[in-house]
Amino acid sequence: MGLKSNLHKLKEKYKDTKMAPAFNAIHTFLYLPNETAHNGTHIKVADDLKRTMNTVIMALIPCLIFGMFNAGYQHYLALGEIQRVSGGFFSSEFWTMANFTVGFWKILPLIIVSYVVGLGIEILFATIKKHEVEEGYLVTGMLVPLIVPIDIPLWMLAVAVIFGVVIGKEVFGGTGMNILNPALTIRAFLFFAYPTWMSGDKVWVTGAVERTNEIVAGAKLDVISGETILGSLAQGKEFAYSTWDMFLGFVPGSVGETSTLLILLGGLFLIFTKIGSWRIMLSATLGALAMGLIFNGVVNAGWIGEGSKFYSLMTTPYWHHLLIGGFAFGAVYMATDPVTASQTNKGKWIYGFLIGFISIMIRVFNPAYPEGVMLAILLMNVFAPTIDHYVVQGNVKKRLKRLKVKTT
């Protein structure tokens, strides 16, 4: 075993040097370490954090590949070069090499920037703090390209990743210690620092800005809106997408968020592998439906007129909220981050429900940006320890009560 023993020798050589964390980080990707249990349990489960994180990445891959095709599809559709999909999920208009190529060359740089910058910072901090490189960024690094608009400038993404990893995670002590979801911290940074790149109708379809400029200069192109469904709804505009389009994902939006079908499959995969919390996913869905029903009810009761600027979002059938925007993606991949979610099982129900509930509330009432999932999850990240505190206090009180019964 040439490679194995050579790497082992190198590992011994780098041991206790500054290079060790960086070297080990790469080494452990190739080989599961030769570490053995000493005291405590002499055997351990097959899973480690790398396997756990890798499972989440696998669940994200279908969304990523779909996002690549969708990027090209939306692009050519906007140019008027192709027709809308007609044959369901496997429509020939969608799954073309041309579509994929456009998306691939737009999205690959996002992935590379996300991983290179993010892992670079992780390794830097691991070297400074002399600990092993932890795997937390593996998932974050894949989530980030999937939750940004496709045309985001790479330098902006790099700045946001630096901010997100340093302020969102490393200042708290690294993986496992952070309060806010790092991927959403990165997105929130982009959203508040560069709002014009994160909303409106110019960012969701690749090449939209150039196209608008050409139209202004007098080019005769069809003006097809590059707006998301939520954007259209917020302005009370009509949109041309069917419910099936929304469910299957043939709509503009952040790279990976559009296909509810694939997100649903990814969610089921995470539940089956026991990596993602079904409690959070289910309760978030219930919370969203509950808020949607309340809004529908308010409209039906006639408390709000057609003149209201919230009217069109409030009249959206309650279950449509699950299909549009980033709700499904957020509930399945972001809310379930075990570090920033509630850690108790009872707490997960409350945490998930409130995420769903508040997501739809912000979505409807937010005047500037018609999506609430990001803010709802970040808000509940902050409250998760409080929820856990009260759940744990329940157990503590039970114990005290038992004592009281005994002593009286």
Partner: protein, 450 residues
């Protein structure tokens, strides 16, 4: 009267190498080594000096904290060496066995007519006191306390653990005598738990006990699990615990006046050619017990079970309380792409390309590889699935790490022992040393609160 307890949360780890029900009577090992470290928290004060001749049952050392607590030699012979470590700490006391064994005579007792104090004094004097442990803190019982109840777990559920119904067969008289003595020590009840499906248990027909029938996966056989379901410990309360094989020693002492620590040990694990039972005394040399039965190439030998036992070398000795030796392969090798390839030959509670869930009956040959590196706590909800106590495992572990005594107390530290966290440690993807964290937490509480 008996009550049934059903445990739902837990995990049976099925391993290769269960002991066949054959017992080989071994001659007494020539050298025995007693390690004060086996008695957690005890600072030993030597009684037997080097070259001293001692009988079986005679004290080797006593506890600095309470000089009434004596620790006896299991054999008669000559103290040949006192091995000391850093700061002259006593590591082990080696005794060379006599050809013919002599036992110190502690006199037969009429247990039924003894008082609380008489039983206590007798057990202390005869060196049987260390067999009684207490909760909270999982240490040797403090003789000054009055326990609210005494618990005996009459069956084991740990991986490959020896079958107590088999090893205790024919010991009913000793067990009954031991129980009678224990009933004198508490004003409360003596609770005994047996497996729901085992009707052969020698405990079933004993008098003076409260019998409970337990079913479910490991840790159903752990005494903490049973205490938590039967009569949980509150702040300020103390319960005592005796294991069945130690109860037999106490019973025999009362019946015959002899301290006879001989017990049946299960040799288990895939590295044994024929896993079986042998007789041994505590402190016996491992190599005498395993002889040529063991495949010793690259083998981890454990005195105890794979979850909570101690690593020993082939030249080491059997732990004072242990009734099992496990031998499994060492896992000190690299595995190519081991973190993401599909895994069929290891146990996992997830289904993340690990397929042990497809083979619920399969017995696995696990090695000692950690299958990953030490990380911060990340996953949540996995511990709860294997932890049956009404306690939040992750939260109590974290409270031990940041040493918040009030929180540790509020979350239920008085009810737990390190072994209760063996399964959570096994399933931990962050490979955190749960049992060590809990042990250090308990030690801190013992020191600060007492």
């Amino acid at each position: 009267m008996s009550t049934d307890i059903r445990i739902k949360k837990g995990l049976d780890i099925k391993l290769v190498g269960e002991a066949d029900k054959i017992t080989t009577e071994l001659p007494i090992s020539s050298v025995h080594a007693i390690k004060p470290e086996d008695f957690h928290g005890i600072i030993p004060k030597l009684i037997a000096k080097e070259k001293a001749q001692i009988k079986a049952g005679e004290a080797l050392f006593y506890s600095k904290a309470d000089e009434r607590i004596l620790f006896p030699s299991p054999i008669s012979g000559e103290v040949i060496e006192i091995v000391r470590g850093a700061k002259r700490k006593i590591v082990e006391i080696k005794i060379l066995a006599d050809k013919t064994q002599q036992h110190q005579d502690f006199e037969k007792k009429d247990t039924i007519n003894m008082s609380n104090d008489e039983v206590k004094t007798h057990l202390l004097a005869s060196g049987c006191w260390p067999f009684i442990k207490q909760r909270p803190y999982d240490v040797i019982a403090n003789p000054n306390n009055a326990p609210k109840a005494i618990f005996i777990s009459g069956y084991t559920s740990a991986p490959l653990a020896g079958d107590l119904d088999y090893t205790l067969k024919g010991k009913e008289a000793e067990l009954q005598e031991g129980i009678t003595a224990l009933t004198k020590l508490t004003t409360g009840k003596v609770h005994v738990s047996v497996n729901l499906n085992e009707t052969l248990s020698p405990f079933v027909n004993l008098n003076g006990i409260e019998l409970h029938k337990v079913s479910g996966p490991h840790p159903a056989g752990n005494v903490s699990t049973q205490i938590n379901k039967i009569d949980p410990i509150n702040k300020g309360e103390v319960v005592w615990i005796v294991t069945p094989q130690d109860l037999v020693i106490i019973g025999e002492l009362l019946l015959t006046g002899k301290f006879n620590a001989k017990r049946i040990i299960a040799l288990t694990g895939s590295q044994f050619n024929t896993p079986k039972y042998v007789t041994a005394l505590p402190g016996a040399q491992i190599k005498d017990l395993v002889s040529d039965n063991l495949n010793s190439e690259n083998t981890r030998i454990i005195s105890g079970n794979v979850l909570s036992g101690n690593k020993v070398s082939i030249d080491g000795s059997l732990g004072y309380y242990d009734n099992q030796i496990t031998a499994i392969p060492e896992g000190d090798d690299y595995e190519f792409m081991g973190w993401n390839k599909p895994i069929f030959n290891k146990v996992s509670t997830s289904r993340a390309f690990t397929f042990s869930w497809m083979f619920p009956k399969k017995k696995f040959d696990l090695n000692t590889n950690t299958n990953g590196e030490h990380r911060a706590f990340v996953m949540t909800g996995t511990f709860e699935e294997v932890f049956p106590l009404d306690i939040f495992p992750l939260q109590i572990l974290k409270s031990c790490l940041y040493k918040d005594l009030d929180e540790m107390e509020a979350l239920g530290m008085y009810e737990v022992a390190p072994e209760d966290f063996a399964l959570t440690e096994f399933v931990c993807v962050s490979k955190q040393p749960h049992q060590k964290i809990i042990r250090e937490g308990l030690d801190l509480m013992l020191k600060e609160i007492g």
